[in-house]
């Protein structure tokens, strides 16, 4: 059936709209959702989309280019320079060792040397698109595992350049002379010229980014035509891709470089917000195309071979990554994430496999098997990450607590106040107490922070305040007050429960982040709860009122009225919060009540506590006489 362009667009979009919310609801993440959507609409299941899958994938790969541009723009050059060791070390070793291992195994299985080497190189790469998108979605990109994964992926993008150069050398005797990838300028040049061309292209991007793009951005922005800026942003990324393809470099790498050059630009955020939706859509399309390209007929015809290949490749790659992670001192929990995240084979393998086929390095049958293996391994990655999140991570955060790598400090002081948690909140409380001559025993769970504060001469003990023995050592039996300002709600609740059980005489002053936390603390019987942002927001509101010409004292009083009412209302609401309907109605009532109260203050009468300054009744009386 010949489908119209719009029909196909409709199928893809509809599949996204149906499957992404479903996947999110099931906690699977959007990448897996897209992949599933692709499988469902693909030729194997419903057959809405078929042969154009491969073409769409090539088109949608542009999403990866945009993603790297966006990653680059968030990465300042100095930061990139700091990452040179993991990029070259970790990334370089990963590519070399994995290539060697797979090549060796292929040789042992009887493949000829050129085919083995091609397979080794192809399969050593991981999927930038899937890994970065999944890690970003889980907020893991900034973690040790995320940073290491990013370094490796960046190196792989660089490694593709020599790979493309080596492949023609591996070509079988009767290979067609046609190089599989788009003909590039370098093809017929001697090696040293090729190097010069590559270097030249990089320099062009850096220089043009600094001296051409920045002024142009200013000119375009000044026209105040919104879509022109969008067009220019797209042009920028497309132009980089074209230039890179022309000299035979990876467009993604070029886009990344272009992003880094513009990281300090004042238009950084506009560029980001313009490219972001295109990137999201194209990446989604790309993932769907990967899902649709899995040839289930082939898989079903030889299920064990393909499954065996997928599993053993994933395990092999993961083991190499885990060993490297260990060498590069990533802690065990993060290392497992790192190993699992990069264990699939990347989208670039599709390009390389097509290339090997054209060059007669691998047989057609081999290529289609490997294509299925690559797509399946990509589809499995979000599942692996899910397993890591649900099974492995929870185990670690538990054992982390018990057999923590760092022992709790020994505590040598006893003060009437204990501060549990010395982050930005506890820190201010502690400073305030200190200038008032009140000494406190301070406990904190963030070892970096503890060390940093030590260097500043502040005595902070490292340790988990939810441990009974640690609090006892901190003098909880003789103390009067404990200030609980842990970094997360879970930690806070742990400490509160432990104190309530073991040190009931301690007055607890507890920091809450938001209203749900406050409710939970109320349920635990905590009397003194301090919502992190309440006072500051009100102070800001009062200043805004004053800037509008409202009297300082009036604003001051209204802040206090508002705060008291808000806290009172919260207490009432806590009891009924599980009845959704009643809760919403009551919230509405309370808002109206408060507005009425405040507007009374504004126009007619003072609130009951301020009638003493209202002369209206006196004036009325005087005029009656």
């Amino acid at each position: 059936m010949e489908h119209s362009y719009f029909f196909i667009a409709m199928i893809y979009l509809a599949a996204a709209v149906v499957f992404i919310p479903l996947a999110k609801k099931l906690g699977l993440g959007s990448v897996l959702g897209y992949l599933l959507a692709g499988v469902v609409i693909g030729p194997s299941l419903m057959g809405f989309v078929g042969q154009e899958g491969q073409d769409i994938m090539h088109f949608a790969e542009f999403g990866v280019v945009m993603m790297l541009f966006l990653i680059g723009i968030e990465l300042e050059p100095a930061l990139l320079w700091n990452m040179r060791a993991p990029i070259l070390g970790l990334g370089g070793l990963q590519v070399l060792i994995t290539t060697a291992a797979i090549t060796g195994i292929a040789l042992l299985l009887g493949q000829p040397l050129n085919a083995s080497l091609a397979l080794g190189m192809t399969l050593s790469l991981s999927s930038t698109a899937i890994v970065l998108q999944s890690l970003k979605e889980k907020g893991q990109l900034a973690s040790a595992a995320g940073q290491s994964a990013f370094s490796v992926l960046l190196f792989q993008d660089i490694a593709v350049i020599p790979m493309l150069a080596i492949f023609p050398l591996l070509a079988g005797p009767d290979a067609s002379n046609n190089a599989g990838h788009t003909a590039s300028l370098r093809d017929n040049l001697p090696a040293w010229m090729q190097t010069l061309v590559v270097l030249g292209a990089v320099i062009v991007i850096v220089v043009a980014g600094q001296y051409l793009v920045r002024p142009l951005l200013r000119v375009v922005a000044r026209t105040r035509v919104r879509e022109l800026f969008t067009a220019f942003s797209l042009l920028l990324v497309v132009a980089i891709s074209v230039l890179m393809s022309l000299v035979g470099l990876s467009p993604a790498l070029g886009a990344f470089l272009g992003g880094v050059v513009l990281a300090n630009s004042e238009y950084k955020h506009e560029l980001e917000s313009d490219i972001e939706p295109f990137k999201g859509l194209l990446l989604g399309l790309f993932f769907m195309a990967v899902g649709a390209s899995i040839d289930f007929k082939l898989v079903l015809s030889m299920p064990w071979v393909i499954l065996g290949l997928v599993v053993s490749l994933i395990i092999l790659k993961a083991i190499i990554l885990l060993i490297l992670g260990k060498v590069f001192r990533i802690n065990t929990e993060q290392n497992l994430l790192f190993g699992m995240a990069l264990s699939q084979i990347g989208e670039f393998a599709f390009v390389l496999l097509a290339f090997t086929q054209q060059n007669n390095i691998l047989s057609t049958r081999m290529v289609s098997i490997m294509t299925a293996v690559v797509a399946l391994s990509m589809a499995l990655t979000p599942l692996l990450l899910l397993i890591h999140e649900r099974v492995i991570q929870p185990k670690f955060s538990k054992t982390d607590k018990d057999t923590n790598t760092r022992e709790a400090d020994e505590i040598h002081e006893k003060h009437p106040i204990i501060i549990a948690g010395f982050g930005r909140f506890g820190n201010i409380v502690g400073r305030f107490l200190r200038v008032n001559g009140v000494k406190a025993t301070i406990l904190d769970l963030d070892s970096d922070r503890v060390d940093a504060l030590h260097n500043l001469g502040v005595k902070v003990y490292y340790g988990d305040a939810s441990r009974r023995d640690l609090l006892a050592a901190a003098g909880a039996a003789d103390a009067k007050i404990i200030i609980i300002a842990m970094d997360t709600v879970e930690q806070t609740l742990d400490v509160v429960k432990m104190v309530r059980k073991n040190f009931p005489h301690l007055q607890m002053l507890v920091k809450a982040e938001n209203i749900p936390d406050t409710y939970e603390l109320m349920d635990l019987g905590v009397l003194h709860i301090y919502r992190e942002t309440l006072d500051t927001s009100l102070r800001m509101g009062a200043d805004a009122l004053q800037m509008l010409g409202i009297r300082a004292y009036h604003a001051h009083r209204n802040v206090s009225t508002f705060r008291k009412q808000d806290e009172k209302a919260l207490k009432g609401l806590s009891a009924i919060r599980n009845d959704k309907k009643l809760y919403i109605n009551t919230v509405k009532e309370r808002i109206e009540e408060l507005e009425k109260l405040m507007s009374n203050e504004r126009v007619t009468k003072w609130n009951p506590s301020a009638q003493g300054w209202d002369e209206q009744s006196l004036i009325d009386e005087a005029n009656q006489d």
């Binding site: 409202i550 009297r551 300082a552 004292y553 009036h554 604003a555 001051h556 009083r557 003072w606 301020a610 003493g612 300054w613 209202d614 002369e615 006196l618 004036i619 009386e621 005087a622 005029n623």
Partner: protein, 182 residues
């Protein structure tokens, strides 16, 4: 030309009919510093050193406020309690304010007749302000007869405007040394 400091206190100035006009009339007068206490210290956190240096820079100190319960709004009391320190304003070494002049500018809701022996309130405004007088004397200052605007509950807009003009004239004469001080 003497320098006048007006320590103004009104907790609900946004509703004021009389004091808003009085201030409008005298704002920007040469030699007159208007210090709006409730605006500067809405949380009653008075900056004592700043207040003392202000006092030192002026010759005549006037408390301007509505009469609440025969006295001043709370912030004035807080100001007195904190700023007029022993050893600075009074006591053996407390000579900072010596020779300066103090006075009160107050508004009262009732008519002048109510502030007599036969009236509602039995005592005169001057008598009610006895603590201000004695405070000034203890600080080695002269205390002026209070400038009182009576009957504000019945004053019309134009009535208030007349009072504002005479207030301004009083300040001018005070500033220029034309007002006889006992």
């Amino acid at each position: 030309m003497a320098k006048i400091l007006i320590l103004f206190a009104h907790p609900a100035f946004e509703k004021s009919r009389v004091h808003s006009q009085l201030l409008a009339a005298i704002r920007g007068m040469q030699g007159v510093t208007l210090h709006d206490l409730y605006e500067v210290y809405p949380d009653m956190g008075i900056d004592v050193r700043h207040e003392q240096s202000l006092l030192l820079q002026h010759d005549i100190i006037l408390f301007q406020h509505p009469l609440y319960w025969y006295s001043a709004p709370a912030l004035i009391k807080q100001w007195q309690d904190l700023v007029l320190e022993h050893g600075w304003a009074y006591g053996h070494t407390g000579t900072a304010l010596r020779g300066k002049i103090a006075g009160s500018v107050v508004t009262a809701g009732a008519q002048e007749t109510a502030y007599g022996r036969e009236g509602w309130h039995h005592y005169s405004v001057s008598e009610f302000l006895l603590p201000f007088r004695q405070t000034a004397l203890l600080c080695n200052m002269q205390y002026l007869e209070p400038f009182v605007i009576y009957g504000t509950h019945r004053l019309t807009y134009s009535g208030i405007a007349e009072q504002a003009v005479s207030y301004k004239q009083m300040l001018e004469r005070l500033r220029d040394g034309q007002l006889k001080i006992k």
